[in-house]
């Protein structure tokens, strides 16, 4: 099962480090990353594999929101199907 991670907010040092160590601690594998900086605005989208995750998706996404609050970024971790459903015919 795969999920999509999105992270957005004002750019600062160590965002990717914090996000990726959060994922590594829970045995979530990063499949793909796309990241840009627009003016001072940081936007990153990751595709991650959660099939070997130590936590179920609903818990992962809740904990991830907690991390977002801690680092002051808008973050989401969602089942990839929501994007497939909405954007492909």
């Amino acid at each position: 099962m795969r999920a999509v991670v999105t992270v957005a907010g004002k750019d600062k040092t160590g965002i990717i480090a914090k996000i990726s160590s959060f994922l590594a601690e829970r045995n979530v594998n990063i499949v793909d990353i796309s990241q840009t900086i627009m003016e001072e605005y940081f936007a990153m989208i990751m595709l991650v594999d959660i099939s070997k995750s130590t936590k179920p998706l609903s818990v992962l996404s809740e904990e991830f929101s907690g991390l977002g609050e801690k680092i002051g970024m808008s973050v989401h971790l969602q089942h990839e199907e929501i994007f497939n459903a909405m954007h492909s015919v």
Partner: protein, 451 residues
């Protein structure tokens, strides 16, 4: 890998434009609960509802976290209670209480189905059942009631229409301490649908399966935002934009519906792709119509804008899901839509215009507060007009009207939460009492004769 723009679009829709799953509604058949006494039936009803829906709150909150999309309401609809109460109709209130208790036990905000279908005729036990509605709505908190008084196939049962005028007045009186709040939980239909997930008019039709999940998606804010992105487009292009947006919204709903049905051990019923507003700014159908170029909803041109919106929503939705049902279209509940509330307060939106609008959108006169001294016969006449629009146009129409006790034009009522606030709207003073007192059936229209 995903297209960055598409991913961010979805996130934006949820975070800024109020995209949500408005309701996950479990339809439960109560037919197996039928027995000879009210007490035995009530126990079976309570146990069945609590058992079948026991995980609805847990599962929907899990889904909401996993897919990152809010699921606002979890609800239950049941077999029209008049059917299972037939052997003991005068004691139907016991069933009403059991259903309300079940809703409270489950932690859901509304349970629909204290309903009767009397569109062609009203048996004594059905009349007796309907007579219990005012008391039951006053004594329960989460139970919703509806009565179907007409259909395109059978005509309009004017005896039932006449009775419902009285029932609505009594319901308002019995909940006078809450500005007639009971009436917000009572809908009078023509062409009621059996798989509607939205309250207050939801019930689980006799033709439905045992346990079904129906999902209502929403997203007036998403549509409004999409239209803002094409400010100078012509109407053909606007319709296309709405269609595309409705497609995306519906797909999200279908995904949740399938998954919810699987996890709740129920059949996937339908996705209802209604644009259901809330009193929050930016979640308004009226504001969509204004975005199309009207200075205020209710002015000339409103019906045309709404017709296009409603049709484009349906087209996008039908493309997105093979199981589209319920009411599917645009809702125009006055008290639940900030744009409608403001237009009514300005005097820019009147009941007559709303009635015209209901001819081209998915429901009817919804959440409209009128003066407390409005005669029952006038309310019946309003219901008859709406039912006629539904009957002739082969569509669902409904009336949810609140004759707010001791209130007059210029006052307003506030029900709070999703039900919002409603300015008291004027009704015509001239009487329709003679017409309503005639009773009988308005025969079905000629075009119903298709066999």
């Amino acid at each position: 890998m995903f297209n960055t723009g598409e991913v961010l679009e979805t996130i934006n829709m949820i975070e800024r434009e109020h995209l949500d799953i408005r309701t996950v509604t479990m339809g439960i058949s109560l037919l197996p609960c039928m027995s000879g006494t009210a007490e035995k039936t009530a126990k079976a009803v309570y146990d069945t509802v609590c058992k079948k829906a026991e995980n609805i709150v847990k599962v929907t909150s899990e889904l909401s976290r996993e897919y990152g999309i809010p699921i606002v309401n979890k609800r239950v609809s049941v077999t029209p209670a008049a059917v299972i109460c037939a052997p003991f109709a005068s004691k139907a209130h016991i069933i009403g209480k059991a259903l309300d208790d079940a809703a409270k036990n489950l932690g859901i905000d509304f349970l629909g189905g204290y309903s009767a279908l009397v569109h062609k005729g009203m048996a004594d036990y059905e009349k007796e059942f309907i007579m219990t509605i005012p008391q039951v709505l006053a004594e329960t908190d989460r139970l919703c009631s509806s009565v179907n008084v007409g259909s395109s196939k059978s005509g309009i049962n004017m005896d039932a229409v006449s009775l419902m005028g009285e029932i609505i007045k009594q319901t308002a009186q019995k909940t006078a301490d809450r500005d007639g709040f009971g009436c917000a939980k009572l809908v009078v239909f023509c062409n009621a649908v059996e798989d509607n997930p939205f309250m207050a008019g939801a019930f689980h039709g006799i033709g439905e399966s045992g346990t079904v999940i129906n999902v209502g998606v929403s997203g007036p804010g998403v549509v409004q935002h999409a239209l803002e992105s094409v400010p100078d487009a012509n109407l053909t292009d606007l319709a296309e934009t709405i269609k595309r947006t409705a497609f995306k919204i519906t797909r999200a709903g279908q995904l949740i519906a399938r998954e919810a049905a699987k996890r709740l051990n129920a059949e996937f019923g339908i996705v209802d792709l209604s644009l259901a507003p809330t009193p929050a700014r930016g979640d308004s159908v009226a504001q969509i119509l204004e975005e199309m170029g009207l200075e205020s909803v209710g002015t000339h041109g409103t019906t045309a804008c709404l017709a296009m919106l409603n049709d484009a929503v349906k087209k996008g939705g039908v493309m997105a899901s093979s199981r589209v049902g319920g009411l599917s279209g645009a809702f125009i509940p006055v008290s639940e839509d900030i744009g409608m509330i403001e237009a009514a307060e300005r005097g820019g939106l009147c009941i007559d215009k709303l009635e015209a609008m209901t001819a081209v959108c998915s429901v009817g006169l919804d959440m409209i507060a009128v003066p407390g001294d409005t005669p029952a016969s006038t309310i019946s006449a309003i219901i008859a007009d709406e039912a006629a629009i539904g009957m002739i146009n082969n569509k669902t129409t409904a009336v949810r009207i609140i004759p707010a006790p001791n209130k007059k034009v210029g006052d307003s009522v506030n029900f709070g939460g999703l039900l919002g606030r409603a300015p008291i709207m004027p009704v015509h003073k001239e009487s329709a009492a003679k017409f309503i007192s005639r009773g009988g059936l308005i025969p079905a229209p000629i075009h119903s004769n298709k066999n």
